[in-house]
């Protein structure tokens, strides 16, 4: 027996999923240990091994591949504990990281200070040099000043350097020169060059990504090497890969070179899981993937089997946080979850959030002293949560406290507690629905034509209602819903991505230049592939994508190249047609009279890693399982409905359960609303059909 192990170290829990050659998967969970990540990982691995009746040592020694997902980089940024980093920029332009791209939420709110830049102004150094937009040198690189700068960087004890010059993407000589001087004078100091990491136009995007990447280098290097050492010491001899925000995984060495790709990598795995579950269940390749936690609701998208990517991922709030800039799996996060607080404002309107009860004190029903009414309290009052079986029995819910908290709201709006709770839940669903609309409708994706895959501990409470509002007919809640990211890692490919900038238009298309760029991209990726010696026989693909727009526009759309090279006029024509198609899909209009301008070219290598799954369990005829008990649940009516409660483990595959019903899994609760039906697939996932009335 050999195993594939995926590990997702979240802020609170470390999730492990172990799969074997026959496709059997199981989960292990333990608390994350921030001081030494491996301790928590070992506990989670132990629990997974225990379920398989083997020892931790047996599991590790039979492990063939381990995929590691980490929030180490994300946390270091949030807690501002990254390396002391110097930012070297073109003389005259010191404030790129301060002014960002502008923008603000509320034009009338003057109650906050302007956010501080990722690298402080006093750690910013201006170097005399200048390249223009055509790549010409306007001001020569000042060698002596660069030497002095190295001395200053050394004297002030910087641990990393980020270099971003204007137009380094048109001519990288000056950044390379700076790199050479840094290597010669400060050989141990890690640095990042903007044209290498993220060759796209717009200096803030490049500078921000470069600064983030450089600042992570020292700590991610030690983190990943330490982890590798710990694993080896524990008897693991298989391969180790790390998940990335590019929607795949990569080897440790590559990520020490570009640690920015480990930021937010956990959420980026959920859409991969969504795609696999949907394919497995025959629910198509247009999928909305939701991950519901206690405080955040993450939404991702899969269209035609492809993940959605964006360069607009912010750490923190848009405009005031820090832009990642690199092409990353598009996952939007909104502050809505079980802990969101419900309130009535002074105009008499019901509101949910943005304040959250968080983990401490948590919702009132947790009985830890919380008094504000939260979405979880509403669910508790409506009878959806089993007070004695919450989190698989790890916690007993204080329903009295929940009632008390909801009553405060009910009194304000003159409704019964149950009706109030129902409305709180519905309103919170509506806010989540809007988050889904933002990523679907705004990108030209009709949710009525897709399926939803929902994960996270709180997914099963209201995802069906959200689906119904969106007009989406099918929801899948995987058996392993509570570990969606770790599930995604099980299916992730090895992914590497390279970008080069070459601006050209369909009017005067630079065939030779573009083909050269595409060749360069291919060579780079094939060199990477060759370095992955363990996977030399594994099939791989390289996809090419142009970041293109109508001439005069400023925002690009990712347009896949129909052909790998532009050999003749017809290749250009089919590409331009493809662009019109993409533009029409996203913006409802096309402008066929307008030339298309391409800003940069991306290539994406994927090496397929998935173990072929087979589900050999014979399904006996669907039968109605027996329920363990009945409980009064409210579904918006004045009176409760006596509702059957099922234990997940008691339900045979192939069963069909009609709503209203509640299904209790150890780490999640699934509410099947009236007029909805769920069936349990052969692979043990819940497939819910939302019926039209």
């Amino acid at each position: 027996m050999s195993y594939k192990i995926s590990v997702d170290t979240g802020g609170t829990f470390t999730d492990v999923i172990v799969s074997d050659e026959s496709g059997n998967e199981n989960i292990g969970k333990a608390l994350t240990t921030t001081n030494r990540i491996f301790d928590g990982m070992r506990n989670a691995l132990k629990s997974a091994a225990f379920d398989r009746d083997i020892s931790l040592e047996e599991l590790l020694s039979a492990g063939k591949l381990l995929i590691y997902g980490t929030t180490r980089a994300t946390n270091a940024i949030i807690t501002e504990s990254v390396a002391k980093t110097a930012f070297i920029t073109t003389k005259g332009f010191p404030d790129t990281l301060v002014v960002k791209e502008g923008g603000k939420y509320n034009p009338h709110d003057f109650s906050s200070d302007f956010p501080t830049p990722y690298i402080a102004r006093h750690n910013t150094f201006e170097l005399e040099e200048r390249i223009d937009s055509l790549g010409n040198q306007v001001i020569p690189f000042n060698y002596n000043q660069a030497l002095d700068l190295c001395k200053e960087i050394n004297r002030r004890g910087f641990k990393a350097v980020a270099v971003c010059f204007l137009w380094s993407i048109a001519n990288s000589d000056h950044e390379k020169e700076m790199a050479r001087i840094l290597s010669d004078n400060l050989p141990d100091l890690p640095y990042t060059l903007s044209h290498e990491l993220i060759p796209v136009v717009r200096e803030y995007r490049r500078a921000s990504a470069t600064a983030i990447d450089a600042s992570l280098k020292p700590l991610m290097q030690s983190h990943l090497y330490d982890l590798e050492k710990d694993l080896r010491c524990s008897g693991y001899s298989g391969d180790i890969l790390v998940s990335t925000i590019a929607g795949g995984c990569s080897d440790i060495k590559s990520l020490i070179d570009k640690p920015i790709y480990t930021v937010n990598s956990g959420p980026a795995m959920a859409p991969i899981a969504g795609l696999e579950f949907s394919k497995l269940e025959g629910c198509g390749e247009d999928i909305i993937v939701c991950d519901t936690g206690g405080t955040t609701f993450d939404v991702g998208l899969v269209r035609d089997g492809n993940l959605a990517f964006t360069r607009d991922t912010w750490l923190g709030q848009p405009y005031i946080g820090h832009l990642l800039g690199i092409s990353s799996v598009d996952v939007r996060s909104v502050g809505a979850g079980g802990g969101s607080i419900a309130w009535v404002d002074e105009g008499g309107l019901m509101r949910i959030g943005p304040n959250s009860a968080g983990a401490q004190p948590g919702p009132a029903c947790y009985g830890q002293g919380g008094t504000d009414a939260t979405v979880s309290d509403a669910a508790a009052i409506l009878g959806y949560l089993n007070p004695d079986f919450f989190l698989g029995g790890q916690m007993t819910l204080d329903v009295k406290a929940a009632e008390k908290s909801i009553e405060l709201i009910a009194n304000k709006i003159n409704l019964s507690s149950h009706l109030t709770a129902w409305k709180i839940l519905t309103l919170s669903s509506d806010l989540m629905m809007k988050a889904i609309s933002d990523i679907t409708i705004n990108e030209g994706f009709d949710p009525r034509e897709g399926s939803i895959v929902a994960g996270g501990g709180a997914a099963g409470i209201n995802i069906m209602n959200i689906a119904k509002e969106l007009g989406c007919h099918r929801v899948i809640i995987p058996k392993l819903a509570s570990a969606l990211s770790a599930s995604g890692m099980q299916f992730a490919d090895i992914v590497a991505e390279e970008t080069l900038s070459l601006v050209t238009t369909s009017e005067s298309f630079d065939f030779e230049g573009v083909n050269n760029v595409l060749c360069k991209l291919q060579n780079k990726l094939e060199a990477f592939k060759a370095s992955m010696t363990l996977y030399s026989d594994v099939p791989y693909e390289i996809d090419y994508i142009a970041e293109a727009r109508y001439i005069g526009q400023v925002w690009e759309l990712d347009t896949p190249l129909p052909n790998k090279r532009f050999l003749q006029q017809s290749d250009l024509k089919s590409f331009v047609d493809k662009f019109h198609h993409v533009h029409q899909r996203v913006f409802e209009v096309r402008d066929e009279g307008s030339p298309v301008e391409i800003m940069s070219w991306k290539a994406r290598l994927s090496i397929k890693l998935d173990i072929v799954k087979s589900y050999n369990s014979d399904v006996t005829k669907a039968e109605l399982p027996s329920f363990s008990q009945k409980r009064n649940c409210w579904f918006g009516g004045l009176e409760p409905i006596s509702t059957p409660i099922y234990k997940g483990s008691d339900i045979p595959v192939g069963s069909v359960i009609k709503g209203p019903a509640v299904i209790e899994e150890p780490s999640t609760t699934i509410v099947v609303y009236p007029n909805m039906v769920t069936k349990i697939s052969i692979s043990g996932n819940y497939i819910i059909d939302i019926l039209e009335k």
């Binding site: 005259g92 302007f114 002030r156 509506d430 809007k434 109508y550 409802e588």
Partner: protein
């Protein structure tokens, strides 16, 4: 002017707390979708990069219902424009229509804001009008700028004016209008791309509003409209009831303008705050008659700017719509420079210069209520950082280009709890707009920047400091480039309040190829040749409160981060230090600071 329908007894009107919240959430989503469409599909940088546009939804009876994320100056007035549409086309407004409106005498801000109005029908009944308003890169004015400061009247301004002119019937384009614009507007392909994006945005709004009506039914939607406006009014009442009863007066002025306005334009606002009646009365009657240049306020701009000044001074979460506006009584004079303009006086720069000053004096008036109220004045002036540049691009066979830059910002005002916002731009946009990227501007125009940076010590000192202004220098790389801008704030600095200092004033120079510098006036029309460049700085925001009361640790941070110099920290803030900046050992000398601040 009194807004119609002041509800006398708010207590009686009970809203549905739940359905109102749901539908308000949906309205917000619809406007976001409209906004996203316009931003990403537009061609000119002023829209697609800088976000100089706003989307709104009005009701069939011409009340402003929702305006999420809209610019303060754009928001008020959409309903005046839909009213014009209803009056001019009475009996002939149908599904599939789209109207273009940019007439400053019948509800628009200024001629450069092309506004697309799409009436939304459900079951044959006109329910809403979807509104998308976007500042154009060019509108066919006499000179290549959308800001004709010197225009004697509308004829000299030269804009094509569309008083709610139908541009689509039955969802089909009326090509006559398109041809008219194409024959007149500079860089017509850029204009047409923006035109399509504007219509697309309003049409998206239409489609989503119809879906909403279908889903919830007419009655629920009608009830929502009433409830949402009542709710917003109720929120406004609560906000006003928190203010002390008072009568405030404040004055200011726009910079002088050549020989025409040697003393500038004096501005005055009187505010009566009545918490018992929950009303704010804004009196703008004391203003001189219309001037023979482009500075005159349109009704929309005069109203929007003082209302923005009020919203800046109260709970910022009160919704901005006709419901909350019911609690504001506004007095405007016909034919006054601040009031309702008299044809053919030009309103070409109505959205910025005087409007910026009106916001400033209104929010600064609130500071008279005491510590904790109001704001300082924000940095003003559309200087070199906001120039409209034009010329021919040698890189693409001499094709013409014209566009407004948004590259260097004025500093935001300090408030009672925080320092000014650095990417504030100007008061009328309140920091909402995006800024250009240096690289994108160099890519799109044959120009090169020499520097772009914050100016140390330019923010008005105070307990809370105004944000510093930015300075910028640029010139053409080969062919001559025209730059036009209507600056303010070169004579009258943005003022501090409650003992806070004023911010640094704007200033501009042209640097000739031999290095000689000539200072430029505030209203600039300049041709720059190869080897020459423009340099200038935007203004800093005003400070709030006595600089001696500023937390010394904030001053220390300002010095370390070069927002302030050590000299200014000593002299103006009375903060002294141990150690040295160069060695990274600077700390506050508490004793010396205490001693000095006693004086």
């Amino acid at each position: 002017m009194i807004f119609e329908k002041i509800s006398n007894s708010i207590e009686e009107s009970k809203i549905d707390p739940f359905m109102t919240a749901i539908l308000a959430n949906r309205m917000d989503g619809i406007i976001r979708e409209m906004t996203n469409t316009l931003l990403r599909a537009a061609r000119s940088a002023v829209i697609s990069s800088a976000r100089d546009f706003s989307c709104a939804i009005c009701t069939a009876d011409n009340q402003l219902l929702a305006s999420a994320e809209g610019l303060p100056i754009h928001i008020f007035g959409s309903h005046l424009q839909t009213k014009t549409m209803c009056e001019l086309h009475d009996g002939d407004i149908n599904e599939g229509d789209c109207f273009l409106h940019n007439d400053p005498y019948s509800g628009n801000t200024h001629a450069a804001d092309h506004t697309f109005l799409v009436p939304v029908f459900f079951e044959g009944e006109h329910f809403f009008t979807a509104v998308a308003k976007a500042h154009q890169a060019d509108i066919g004015n006499a000179a290549p700028t959308t800001y004709m400061a010197a225009a004697k009247d509308q004829y000299e301004e030269g804009a094509l004016i569309f008083p709610a002119v139908r541009i689509q019937r039955n969802y089909k384009m009326i090509d006559d209008v398109v041809r008219m614009c194409r024959s007149r507007v500079r860089v017509p392909s850029q204009w047409y791309g923006d035109f399509l994006a504007g219509i697309g945005s309003a049409r998206i709004g239409e489609r989503r509003l119809k879906e909403l009506c279908k889903k919830y039914g007419k009655e629920t939607i009608k009830q929502f409209i009433d409830h949402w406006l009542d709710y917003s009014e109720e929120r406004m009442c609560h906000a006003i009831q928190k203010l002390p009863k008072s009568e405030l007066f404040n004055s200011g002025a726009h910079d002088p303008f050549g020989e025409l306005l040697p003393d500038g334009i004096p501005l005055k606002v009187t505010l009566k705050i009545d918490p018992e009646k929950a009303l704010i009365d804004l009196d703008l009657l004391d203003h001189p008659p219309n001037v023979d240049c482009g500075f005159n306020q349109s009704e929309a701009c005069a109203s929007a700017s003082v209302i923005a000044g009020v919203f800046n001074s109260i709970d910022p979460t009160v919704p901005r719509n006709s419901g909350s506006f019911r609690r504001i009584i506004l007095h405007l004079k016909d034919g006054a420079v601040v009031g309702k303009p008299k044809f053919p006086h030009s309103c070409s720069i109505a959205t910025t210069n005087i409007a910026d000053r009106l916001i400033n004096i209104t929010q600064a008036a609130f500071a008279q209520l005491g510590d904790g109220w109001g704001l300082a004045e924000g940095g003003v002036g559309l200087g070199a950082g906001f120039a409209v540049v034009s010329g021919n691009d040698h890189r693409v066979d001499g094709k013409p280009y014209v566009n407004q830059l948004h590259i260097a910002s004025n500093g935001g005002p300090a408030g009672p709890t925080s320092d000014g916002w650095i990417t504030y731009a100007i008061p009328v946009v309140g920091g909402l707009m995006y800024r250009d990227s240096v690289e994108i501007d160099e890519l799109k125009h044959p120009m090169q920047f020499h520097y772009l940076r914050l100016v140390t010590g330019s923010g008005g000192a105070g307990k809370y400091r105004g944000a510093p202004g930015q300075e910028v220098a640029y010139g053409p790389i080969k062919e001559d480039m025209n730059a036009i801008w209507p600056c303010d704030g070169t004579h009258f600095a943005p003022q501090g309040v409650r003992g806070g200092n004023h911010g640094k004033k704007c200033s501009h120079f042209i640097v000739r190829s031999d290095g000689q510098e000539e200072e430029l006036p505030n209203m600039v029309v300049v041709r720059i040749s190869k080897g020459e460049f423009i340099r200038g700085n935007q203004s800093g925001g005003g400070g709030y409160g006595d600089p001696f009361e500023r937390d010394p640790n904030r001053v220390l941070k300002d010095v370390i981060e070069s927002y302030e110099t050590i000299e200014r920290a000593n002299k103006i803030y009375g903060v002294y230090f141990h150690g040295s900046l160069a060695d990274n050992t600077l700390t506050v000398d508490k004793e010396a600071t205490k001693e000095f601040r006693k004086k």
